[in-house]
Symmetry: C2
Subunit: 432 residues, 2 copies
C-alpha cells in the first residue's frame, strides 16, 4: 500500500508535539489509517531540541515544503495570519491537502481558503483549531449530522477558565490569578487574546459555521472578556446558585444567529458549570439528540497534536479512494493481547464489614489485612445498626491485586465476629 | 448527483425515530452529505402510527429489503440476535452497506459480521450501539486516532445510572427506585439486562475493541450489576468523598487487557461522578491528548436515531468515492441567515447595583425595571460595602431583549443614588 507523506511546517509547541506523537505511535497510526503515514519533510526556521528529526528532510524556507512534489499533506503549525495564509494557499496551488491548528487564520480567512481548496479538489482540515484535543469539529460535522442544531455553548479558552475557577474556588482576585497563570505558562505575557475573548471569538466563529452551515463571520461576533469580573460577583452568583463561566455562545433564532462571547452565569448543577481549570468543554443542543457535551484539554503540545494527527489520518484514509474507517478502528485486530481474569486486576476497594461490637475485633481485621499486604487508606466506624451489637466498619484500601483481596475477604468472613456477608465495591480514581 | 437509497428494517422506538428525523431534516442532511439520502424501502411486520410512510415502499418480510437491488444501505433496527444477524449477512451478501444499533449482535457476532463485510467490500457501522446519541465510536476510532489509549471508563447504561442517582440524591432504596424506573419506561419489565450489567458489558466489549484494536470478546467481560448496592453504601461512599457509579472499565496493562463492568466508587469531584440520571458519559485517557469525555443521552428514539443517521451519512459520503466532508460541514453555506446584533438577543441578566442605603432607592430601581417590562427573579441585598453608606443590590432578571436592558441600565445609572457603574453579566440556563 502506498504510504502517505506529510510535510510539517512549524516546530513550536504544537509542531514538536505532532512530530513526537507521530514518531511514537507510528505503528498504531498505520494500523488505523490502513497505510503508513510519515512525516518526510519539516519546514522550520530552526531545530527544536525536543524533536529528533533523524533523516527527515529539513527546509529553513517553509515554502519549500509546499512545493515538495513528494508531499501529499502539508501541516501548517506556524501560527499567525498572513504568512500562514500565504503558505496554505501555496500548498493548495500545488495540489496538497492541508491540516492546520490556526484558529485565527480559519476564522478570518477560512472562506477564501476553502474556496481555493475546493477549486483545486483538495481539503483543508482544522480540528485542532477549536478546543485543542477535543474532537469537536468531527463531533458536530459528522457525529451530529442528523440534527438541526439549536444552540451551542463552549468553554473554549482554557486560560480564562483557569482564572475564573481560581476566583471561584479560592476567592482570589482577577489580577492576582492572571499573574499566576502567566507564571505557569497558561497565559501569554500579553494576555489580551485570552482575557478579552478574542481567542474564544475565533473559535466560536468556526463552531457556529459548522453548526448552522453559515459562512465564517468573525467580524460579527459580540466579544466581551473577563477582565471586569470581580470576586464579589463570583460570590454573589454562587449564592444565587450559579457559576460565572466565560462562554462562546451561538443560537439560531427566527430572527437570525446569535454570535457572542462573554462572561455568563450558568446554573451550578449543570455539568458545564463544573468544568474547571484549563479544561475546555462544548455543549451542543440538537433537535434529535438533545444535549451532548465534549470535554478535554483545550491546549497543550501533545493534546493539540492529537487533533492535528486525527485530521492527517482522515485525509490519508481518503487518498487512493480507500476512505472507509476499519470496522474496529484498526485495519487488523491484534490477537496477542490477552484479557486479564478479574482475579488479576489491581484496584482499590471499599469494604463494609458488619462486625460484633467487641474488644479486639478491629485488631483481627487489621491483622488479616496486614498479612495479605493490604494497606488501609481510610476507616469509618459507625454506631451499631438497629439495636443489635453489630457495627458497620467501612474500609477504603490502597490498590491491591483482586485475588489477594478475595483471600482477605474469605479470612475475614470466617471470623466468628463477622456476622454478615462482607460488601465489596471497587474504587477507581480515574486520574490519568 | 446520484441519490443514496436507504432500506430501513424495524419501525420500533429507534426505527420510527430514524424515519422521522430523516424526513424532518431531509434538506439539511442532503446539504451535509453532499447528495440526497432517502429512505426508499421500509421492512416492518406492522406500521407504526408515529411514522407517516407516504409513498415509501413497505415490505412485511424484512429480507425483501436486503434483496432490493435499489438499496445502497440497509439499516437494521429490529434488535435481537439471530434474525438480525441473518438479515445483516443477507444484506452483505447482496452488496449492501449496513448500519445497526444492535449492541448485543455486534458484541457477540461482530467478528464474523465484519469478516463477511470485508470479504464483500462493504461496511457495517454501529455508532448507535454504544451510548445512544453520543458519537463515541467516531470519537475513539477517528478523533483519538493518534493516541495510544490507556484506559476508558463509561457510564453506559442509563437505567442503572438513574437508579444510582436517585439512591444517592434522595437516599432511596434500590427496589423502590427500580419500580419507579419501570413505571417511567426507563427500565424493562424484566430489568435483568440493565441492572445485572449485561447491556453495559455488550457496550464495553465494543469500546475496548476500538480502543485497543483487539477482537470483540464479550464472553471475557467480568460483569457485576447494581442489585446489591444499598443506600448505606451510597451514604458511606459519600462520606468518604466518593459516588458509586456503575462503570464499564477497560485498561491496557503489561499483562493484558482488563474488561470489567461493576459498581465503582469514583471521587465526587470528577466530572464523570457528576453525570446523573439517565445520561451516559465515556471518559477516555489517551497518551497524547490526556483525558477527554463524551456526554449525552444513551437511549431514546430520536437520540439514538441521531447516531444511526450519522452512520448513514458517513457511508453516503463514501459512495461514488466523494468521501470528503465539506469544509464547514455543509456542501454550501447559506447566506440568508443574518447575524443578530447583540442589542437584539434575549437573555436573563445578573445586575450588581451600588446604591445609597436610603429609603425609597429600591422603589426607584423597581419602578424603572417595571417601566421597561423587566421581571425580577431574585434579589439579594447586602450589608454596606466597607464603611460607606453604599449597599450592593444584586438582581437576577427574567429573559428580556438586550436593548431594553440597556435602556433600564441607563435610566438606573442616571439615578443620583446609584454611585458606581452597574455591573451586568448575562445568564444562560442551558436547559434545552
Amino acid at each position: 500500500m502506498k504510504s502517505v507523506n506529510v510535510g510539517l511546517c512549524g516546530l513550536g509547541t504544537v509542531g514538536s508535539g505532532t512530530f513526537n506523537v507521530m514518531q511514537r505511535n507510528l505503528e498504531d497510526i498505520a494500523r488505523r489509517a490502513g497505510k503508513p503515514v510519515r512525516i518526510t519533510h519539516v519546514g522550520a526556521r530552526r531545530d527544536n531540541p525536543a524533536c529528533h528529526l533523524g533523516s527527515v528532510k529539513v527546509s529553513r524556507d517553509i515554502f519549500d515544503v509546499a512545493r515538495d512534489p513528494d508531499i501529499h499533506i502539508l501541516v501548517e503549525l506556524i501560527g499567525g495570519n498572513d504568512v500562514a495564509k500565504e503558505l496554505v494557499l501555496e500548498a493548495i496551488k500545488h495540489g496538497k491537502h492541508v491540516v492546520t491548528a490556526n484558529k485565527s487564520m480559519i476564522a478570518i480567512h477560512g472562506n477564501e481558503i476553502f474556496k481555493a481548496a475546493e477549486a483545486q479538489g483538495v481539503v483543508v482540515t482544522y480540528e485542532a483549531a477549536v478546543a485543542g484535543g477535543i474532537p469537536i469539529i468531527k463531533g458536530i460535522r459528522e457525529g451530529l449530522v442528523a440534527n438541526d442544531i439549536k444552540w451551542l455553548a463552549g468553554i473554549i479558552n482554557g486560560t480564562g477558565n483557569f482564572i475564573l475557577t481560581e476566583m471561584q474556588e479560592k476567592g482570589r482576585a482577577f489580577d492576582d490569578v492572571l499573574k499566576e497563570a502567566q507564571a505557569l505558562g497558561y497565559a501569554e505575557a500579553d494576555p489580551t487574546f485570552d482575557v478579552e475573548g478574542i481567542d474564544a471569538a475565533h473559535k466560536l466563529t468556526i463552531l457556529a459555521s459548522i453548526a448552522f452551515g453559515i459562512p465564517l463571520q468573525f467580524d460579527k461576533v459580540y466579544t466581551e472578556g473577563i477582565t471586569k469580573i470581580t470576586r464579589e460577583d463570583v460570590q454573589y452568583a454562587e449564592e444565587l446558585g450559579y457559576r460565572i463561566k466565560h462562554l462562546g455562545f451561538t443560537r439560531k433564532t427566527n430572527e437570525g444567529v446569535e454570535l457572542r462571547v462573554h462572561p455568563t452565569l450558568v446554573p451550578s448543577k449543570r455539568l458545564l458549570a463544573n468544568v474547571n481549570g484549563v479544561l475546555n468543554a462544548v455543549l451542543v443542543e440538537g433537535d434529535a439528540v438533545g444535549p451532548t457535551m465534549y470535554y478535554g484539554p483545550g491546549a497543550g503540545s501533545e493534546a493539540t497534536a492529537s487533533s492535528v494527527i486525527a485530521d492527517i489520518v482522515d485525509i490519508a484514509r481518503e487518498i487512493d479512494n480507500a476512505g472507509n474507517v476499519p470496522h474496529l478502528g484498526y485495519s487488523s485486530e491484534t490477537e496477542n493481547m490477552p484479557v486479564l481474569p478479574v482475579s488479576e486486576i489491581v484496584t482499590a476497594y471499599y469494604l463494609r464489614i458488619s462486625v460484633k461490637d467487641e474488644i479486639g475485633q478491629m485488631a483481627n481485621i487489621a491483622r488479616i489485612m496486614s498479612e495479605k499486604g493490604i494497606n488501609i487508606e481510610a476507616i469509618i466506624q459507625k454506631e451499631p445498626e438497629d439495636e443489635s451489637d453489630v457495627v458497620p466498619l467501612i474500609l477504603l484500601t490502597h490498590p491491591v491485586r483482586e485475588h489477594r483481596m478475595d483471600d482477605a475477604i474469605s479470612a475475614m468472613q470466617a471470623l466468628e465476629s463477622v456476622t454478615k456477608p462482607i460488601v465489596r465495591i471497587r474504587v477507581e480514581q480515574l486520574d490519568g
